[in-house]
């Protein structure tokens, strides 16, 4: 079941940059992790050495460039705030790779990304591994959207919504998804990759039920251990509670009870 031994490793920050008013990217080198981690998997990051804050913070991988790994994050609390103050040369303890991965061997599928806010993070990495046909991203405002320079080659496949209308279409990302489905000649071939706030995932899930679409979602629950031991991060599925850290974070959309 497990292919790769997980270890806890000290890494050195190579870059930590605010790329939009709401989004940051932190980068570090790890040959071992860079060669083993897969899209959807995450690392448990200790942002300090003295257990204050006490728990580690889970972060999915945003991009891998040779031996360099990047994490996309926003400041939501004490842990991410401390992370934002790290500078080149600072050390972090990271543990992984943890969790399962997105499916990457779909044949004849139209791959549609639906990312809400910082939930877009794993899909840049996924785009490094598979062909993406539509890249949909929503945020509250332009400040939370990835800039063109970050999206790269996927730019031509991108559609954006903001709740305040400061960029792209005003409204929710589900409206873009509806559009994609309507435009599509073979909507049944659509395969969705989803990550974002609970309300967004619920709305996407309703649409997939309505249109009979398939896909998968990465869930973002508060975690303690990250390895499936504490049972603190479970999500409800059609088959009972599952640990989002070990049995997830990726679940089939139709299995999730959101």
């Amino acid at each position: 079941m497990k292919t790769m031994k997980m270890i806890d490793e000290v890494v050195t920050v190579a870059r930590n940059e605010r790329i939009t008013p709401h989004l940051y990217v932190i980068a570090f080198e790890s040959e071992r992790l860079a060669h083993s981690i897969q899209p959807g998997q995450f690392l448990q990051v200790a942002v300090t050495e003295d257990y204050d804050p006490f728990l580690r913070r889970p972060f999915t991988i945003y991009r891998v460039l040779r031996n360099r790994l990047e994490i996309l994050y926003e400041i939501v609390g004490q842990g991410s705030e401390i992370l934002s103050r790290k500078v080149r040369g600072d050390r972090l303890k990271v543990m992984g790779p943890l969790g399962n991965t997105f499916s990457m061997r779909m044949k004849n599928r139209i791959h549609v990304i639906v990312g809400g806010g910082v939930g877009i993070a794993p899909f840049i990495f996924l785009g490094q591994k598979i062909k993406i046909d539509h890249f949909l991203m929503g945020a509250r405002s332009k400040k939370g959207l990835l800039p063109k320079s970050e999206i790269g080659a996927l730019w031509s496949k991108s559609r954006f919504t903001t709740e305040d209308g400061s960029y792209g279409r005003r409204g929710f990302i589900t409206e873009c998804l509806e559009e994609v489905i309507k435009e599509c000649r073979h909507p049944r071939r659509i395969y969705l990759y989803v990550c974002g706030p609970r309300a967004m995932m619920r709305a996407v899930r309703e649409m997939t039920d309505r249109h009979g679409l398939e896909g998968e979602a990465s869930v973002d629950e508060r975690m303690a251990c990250g390895v499936g031991a504490c049972l603190g991060c479970v999500v409800e599925t059609t088959n009972g509670y599952k640990t989002s850290c070990r049995e997830g974070t990726v679940f089939r959309l139709r299995d999730l009870i959101l």
Binding site: K5, I7, R222, A224, C225, G228, V234
Partner: protein, 324 residues
């Protein structure tokens, strides 16, 4: 796994073995129930066979789904949890977990919990024939389930459940106590009188946290069990009080992060120590505690655990009720 064992055995003379409840343990370090997963979750980080014992997550008669989410919240120097004893029940445990753990050459202590005395007895009886099981830890102190603390609230109930289990099994019994008990020492005494071979002190303390903006409790079940270094001084005090009053071995647990923390418990009189919440933040915590104890003993010329256990000197110090 074996590589780690071989490395630290090099040139080591001191003896970390412990005798407790008629059993010999290779060292005093174990892992607290519920913090070490249900099978191989920590296998990449920990050499299971190096541990003095493994204490399982609580097993109940019937499968339990556990409490609704959110179940955890980080607090200063610790965390709150209200998992609610999620587990697959004793049938699954017997079928899958015992075979899994039987391959690991260390003591297996199975933590059991019930809502009634009959539940405890049924579990004790069910586990009795298994030679792979070294001892049972009776969880009469979980704050996260209905009636979880009831057995620990009254000494006579604690007595009843321990006595009934004692009659139901030949396995040594370790009773895990709650700091929430109104009269902790009376409960401890009842457990000892009923035949508990050892005591574990302490389970979590019931606490809560609040989201001020949302005006909501952070946990779906409002309360959760507080664990981590925040509770270590309380755990230590209870170990001290038990050891002062009763001649019963104690497994000290509560916020142990390092070997120094563990040695605090051992000096105070604990036979064994269990590493709990630390596993969540440092998966190698139990190994580091063990290596640190070995190193301390080596550096201080301590040749056996008997030479350090309960060596706390209190002459000239007087217990006072803290004022103000």
């Amino acid at each position: 796994m074996t590589r780690v064992a071989a490395k630290s055995r090099k040139g080591k003379a001191e003896d970390l073995t412990i005798r407790m409840g008629g059993l010999a343990f290779k060292n005093p370090v174990t892992v607290a129930s519920g913090t070490f997963g249900t099978s191989d979750e920590y296998a990449d980080y920990v050499d299971f066979e190096k541990l003095g014992a493994i204490i399982t997550k609580t097993v109940t008669r019937k499968p339990r789904q556990g409490n609704v989410m959110p179940r955890i919240y980080e607090t200063p120097s610790g965390m709150l949890n209200s998992i609610g004893l999620q587990n697959k029940g004793i049938d699954e445990f017997v079928e899958h977990k015992i075979p899994f753990f039987s391959r690991i050459k260390t003591h297996l202590i199975v933590n059991i919990a019930g809502e009634t005395v009959e539940d405890f007895v049924a579990l004790a009886k069910r586990l009795d024939p298994f030679r792979e099981v070294s001892a049972l830890e009776l969880n009469i102190s979980c704050p996260n389930v209905k009636k979880g603390l009831e057995f620990c609230a009254k000494p006579e109930l604690a007595f009843e459940v321990v006595r009934a289990c004692k009659e139901a099994t030949r396995h040594p019994l370790i009773t895990k106590l709650s700091p929430e008990a109104h009269d902790f020492l009376a409960v401890a005494e009842a457990c000892v009188k009923a035949g508990s071979d050892a005591l574990t002190a302490i389970n979590t303390l019931k606490g809560m946290a609040v989201d001020v903006d949302g005006r909501r409790p952070r946990l779906a079940s409002i309360f959760g069990g507080l664990s981590g270094p925040a509770i270590r001084p309380i755990a230590l005090r209870y170990v001290y009080e038990i050891r002062k009053r009763f001649d019963v071995p104690v497994i000290g647990t509560g916020g142990i992060m390092t070997a120094y923390d563990a040695l605090e418990f051992i000096v105070t009189g604990a036979h064994m120590v269990s590493v709990g919440t630390a596993n969540f933040v440092n998966p190698r915590a139990s190994m580091e505690v063990l290596e640190g104890i070995e190193k301390y003993c080596l550096e201080h010329g301590i040749r056996s655990m008997d030479e350090i256990r309960g060596t706390l000197k209190v002459e000239g110090r007087k217990e006072e009720v803290p004022a103000g």
